[in-house]
């Protein structure tokens, strides 16, 4: 039995979680130079936030009655603050747009903000019920943002120092960058705690502007261009969200998200805001045709990519989709969203084959996996949502680990190209090993992502979505190709190659080790996660539970597989397999010059030898595939908006 006292405590902690990151941002903003003090502030503050997030999440997950965690009915003061800050964001965007002469961004900003302001200030907005509610899904998101997000911030405190060490041409504004990361986390906590659509919209816009500022960090021409691309795409999504918000308030008299999702039977017009929110979610989650902003986002220092790709930005989009998922069941919106998601999954995985920049491969893989999540949410079935939430969890952990490792490799080798990672296992064994676990986590059999994909496949088969099944099976073929060739590149053992100095600072390892262990632990823990984290979400969203998607004997077999993966290396050590074999050089159809990189040809001349990976650029290259993909999906999005939204009037 929980006392009212504990409840009040938890709600106070929620307040703390939303506000404290902003305070952290101000403190960090004041600490200009990279110093032990700043790192200490980030680590102590970060772990405080993490502990608070875990405290709230665990309490919510363990509590019997999730309806307890709602509050904040009277919000006059809060509303004034929100309005003031929205105006501030709009002015900021306008100012920067004029400064960099990108005037189109002003239009999107004004179109998105002014109608909402008008609605708020003229008192047309519906006074909702509780503005804040923490349910199971919010608790799960708390864990992602609180644990993965904070680990990335801690990683960033060490990374930015090295970054400016290597990039002397970039002005050191690392305090500003780190502060932005905390603002981002604060906005994330705010967004997932809010039930009031106006609040959600406000935090939604903060994340858009924040990501824009982070992408433009280096202030090079490329960074500025890419940041404005991210800005206009996200503001366009923001306009969609604003339209949905206004429609809810003025025509449906709904102010809260939970009212909307609970009102499926009451009004057939509910689908209009749902479609608009889904449209906004597509932009945030970088689905085709809006993928290019995420690809451009990699110009920024790696921590921002890690943050945008794993714990925050793109996850907001799918968060919204999963929230409205039950309303999309068997509607045109649902079908279009699943098709766009499935298409994105397949197309992005083909594009990922053709690029060799490590961060770009990760970016395409993010887009592709988010496509899968989008497709799952779009089916609107219980199994679909199960798979979607699982994918969100596993993807957040694996992707943030991979980005951080690529960042460290770049700091050590001054390159993040996959071709340069040839023989990484000899050059940087520790990072190579972590990276292998991260990559395996993304696609190999007993690891998490595959479990979720498997569930997704079952969900699609059961819901009879033939096209999705086909997208998924072909997409898994190409996914396997691009990950496995990267894995192979890392595993290559080159003779007469030496270990490089691993300059990864300890603060980064503080972040990398927990993430690595989480990938491994989550392999074992997913049945538990299913019962304690995902089933309650289904219960809240659909008021029903499902039998275990993957259960019984399969789980045991998967455990055996995980055990085998770890036993084989250990076992071979003990049994000394291959210890008494004769060593030789690899066969090069000539005389191997001894270092695997040169051979002596028939004229006795030494010639260089290099094995590149396959990219098949001429078949699925960006030049060939990207534009058609964008056009096809843009047509799909347009059709969805015109038929559903236009049809309602």
């Amino acid at each position: 039995m929980k006392g009212a006292n504990t409840l009040a405590n938890i709600l106070n902690v929620v307040n703390f979680l939303i506000l404290f990151p902003f305070i952290m941002a101000i403190i960090i903003g004041l600490l200009k130079k990279a110093s032990p003090l700043r790192s200490a502030v980030i680590i102590i503050g970060g772990f405080t936030i993490m502990a608070a997030a875990i405290y709230v999440a665990v309490n919510v997950l363990l509590s019997g009655n999730k309806a307890d965690f709602v509050y904040l009915e009277n919000t006059e003061l809060h509303n004034h603050i929100v309005v003031a800050l929205e105006v501030f964001l709009m002015v900021l965007v306008c100012f920067l747009s004029i400064k960099y002469k990108k005037f189109y961004a002003i239009i999107f900003s004004l179109v998105g903000t002014i109608p909402v302001l008008w609605m708020d200030l003229t008192g047309r907005a519906v006074e909702g019920l509780n503005h804040i509610r923490i349910d199971t899904f919010a608790a799960v998101m708390y864990l992602i943002v609180g644990v993965v997000g904070i680990l990335i911030c801690i990683y960033a405190s060490g990374y930015m120092k090295d970054y400016h060490h290597h990039h002397t041409d970039v002005q050191d504004r690392s305090n500003y960058f780190l502060a932005l990361m905390f603002v981002f986390l604060g906005a994330m906590f705010g967004l997932i705690s809010s039930d009031n659509l106006g609040f959600i919209y406000f935090f939604w816009e903060i994340t858009s502007v924040c990501s824009f500022l982070m992408i433009g960090y280096t202030r090079t021409q490329e960074a500025v261009d890419n940041s404005f691309r991210a800005l206009w795409m996200n503001l366009l999504g923001g306009c969609g969200f604003a339209a949905g918000l206004i429609y809810c308030n003025l025509f449906l008299g709904i102010a809260n998200l939970s009212q909307l999702t609970g009102s499926a039977a009451t009004s057939k017009f509910v689908i209009v805001p749902v479609t608009l929110f889904a449209f906004a979610a597509l932009t945030k989650s970088a689905q085709f045709p809006f993928s290019r902003w995420l690809l451009g986002a990699m110009v920024a220092p790696t921590p921002s990519s890690a943050l945008l790709h794993s714990a925050t930005m793109v996850k907001i989009g799918v968060y919204m989709l999963i929230r409205v998922s039950p309303l999309m069941y068997n509607t045109l919106t649902g079908i279009m969203i699943t098709v766009i998601g499935g298409f994105t999954f397949f197309a992005a995985s083909l594009l990922a084959i053709t690029v060799s920049d490590g961060k770009k491969v990760l970016a395409y893989s993010t887009i592709s996996n988010l496509g899968l999540i989008t497709a799952c949410a779009g089916t609107g079935t219980t199994e679909g949502v199960w798979a979607a939430v699982m994918l969100v969890l596993f993807h957040a952990v694996s992707k943030s680990l991979l980005f951080q490792t690529v960042g460290d490799i770049e700091n050590c080798m001054h390159s993040r190209d996959i071709e340069d990672m040839h023989g990484l296992i000899i050059k940087l064994p520790r990072l190579a090993f972590i990276m292998m676990i991260g990559i395996c986590g993304m696609f190999m059999a007993p690891f998490g992502m595959l479990v979720s994909k498997w569930a997704a496949l079952k969900a699609f088969v059961d819901s009879g979505s033939v096209w999705l099944v086909i997208f998924l099976v072909f997409g898994s073929g190409s996914t396997l190709f691009y990950w496995a060739k990267w894995l192979g590149k890392i595993c290559t053992v080159i003779h007469q190659s030496f270990e490089l100095e691993d300059i990864t600072p300890r603060s980064e390892m503080v972040s990398i080790f927990p993430l690595t262990s989480m990938i491994v632990i989550m392999c074992f823990a997913f049945p538990w996660m299913s019962t304690h984290m995902i089933q309650p979400i289904l219960d809240e969203a659909f008021h029903t539970n499902i039998p275990d998607v993957i259960g019984g004997s399969d789980v045991i077999i998967m455990m055996i597989m995980v055990a085998m993966i770890f036993m084989i290396p250990i076992g071979s050590r003990i049994l000394a397999i291959g210890k008494n074999s004769k060593m030789t050089m690899s066969y090069v159809a000539g005389v191997n010059a001894g270092d695997d990189r040169h051979y002596i040809d028939s004229f006795g001349k030494e010639r260089a030898l290099y094995m590149s990976n396959w990219y098949m650029d001429e078949i699925f290259g960006e030049k060939k595939l990207l534009l058609p993909c964008i056009i096809v999906s843009a047509v799909l999005v347009a059709v969805m908006l015109i038929i559903v939204v236009g049809g309602a009037f």
């Binding site: 088969v461 053992v493 074999s581 030789t584």
Partner: protein, 289 residues
């Protein structure tokens, strides 16, 4: 129940290498006769592997052995999972995992022919992966379960409902059994532009392990072919055996008829075949359901 599962798995682990080796021998005899040669004795593959096991193993590096061992263990595991009546989807996921181990073994050597073989092998996997997953889905549509144990109690053979999947699967078996025209990554014949591809830098015991793993794999593939014909009627086993023999003969015939194609042709042709046959079949099943 548990005991019978363990017995089935054990039987596979013990018997599959003999069946697989024998199939490999028969394949070589067939091929020879088609080419008008006498050919080796049927038991030749066993002699070969025995000899390999007794040879000194030279390795390029230590990790190579690890990956090859993992490949063998996971292949055996995959087959045991199938014959013990496990989940079809899991069988195919485990299968691609074991294949990745083999690819990594080749990558780790850093030899040009090995790596080329590895890249080609990955491409081959990309070609057949959609079909293997679709086979599992097809069985699910036909009989409502992913578990092999439930599927073998069907009242009507699955082939009646999913002939398109069968055609697609027989087609990708050409890749899986390393038959020309799709034997891009390695082949049974030496002296080619890729030397021995994937297995160039393997020798002695290592090579023997790969050979044995492929025997296990062949038996697993034939088991899946048989699944299309198995029902709760014991006589259906006879049909399954006949079907396996016909398919195996067909694969050998194709091997001898067609020259190797370019990788891009392979990708286009296999994906087209999968889409046309299995995709259409899936669409029809979904409409009828």
């Amino acid at each position: 129940m548990t005991v019978s599962i363990i017995i089935k798995a054990l039987l596979y682990v013990l018997l599959a290498p003999f069946v697989g080796g024998l199939l490999s021998g028969i394949d070589r005899v067939f091929s020879a006769r088609m080419q008008g040669r006498q050919g080796p004795p049927v038991f030749q593959p066993f002699y070969d592997v025995y000899k390999l096991l007794n040879k000194q193993t030279t390795v390029v590096n230590g990790i190579q052995v690890l990956f090859v061992t993992a490949y063998l263990i996971f292949t055996v595991f995959t087959g045991a999972l199938f014959f013990a009546g496990g989940d079809m989807l899991l069988v195919f996921f485990a299968l691609s995992m074991s294949e990745v181990m083999m690819v990594l073994a080749a990558f780790s050597t850093n030899g040009p022919y090995s790596i080329m073989g590895a890249q080609r092998e990955l491409l081959q996997m990309m070609c057949y992966e959609p079909m293997t997953l679709l086979v599992a889905i097809g069985f699910y549509y036909a009989n409502g379960s992913f578990m092999v144990n439930d599927l073998i109690h069907a009242s009507v053979p699955a082939i009646v409902q999913i002939p398109g999947f069968f055609i697609g699967f027989v087609f990708i078996l050409i890749i899986k059994l390393r038959k020309s025209p799709f034997d891009l990554s390695t082949s049974h014949h030496m002296h080619q532009e890729m030397v021995k591809g994937l297995t160039t830098d393997l020798s002695g015991g290592n090579l023997a392990r790969v050979e044995i793993a492929e025997w296990y794999d062949t038996v697993l593939m034939m088991g899946i072919v048989g699944m299309f014909f198995i029902t709760n009627n014991p006589i259906s086993i006879l049909w399954a055996v006949i079907a396996c023999s016909v398919v195996f003969f067909l694969e050998t015939l194709i091997d001898n008829l067609f020259p190797r194609v370019k990788y891009i042709t392979m990708l286009k042709v296999t994906w087209a075949v999968i889409l046309v046959f299995a995709g259409t079949n899936l669409l029809i099943l979904n409409v009828l359901k």
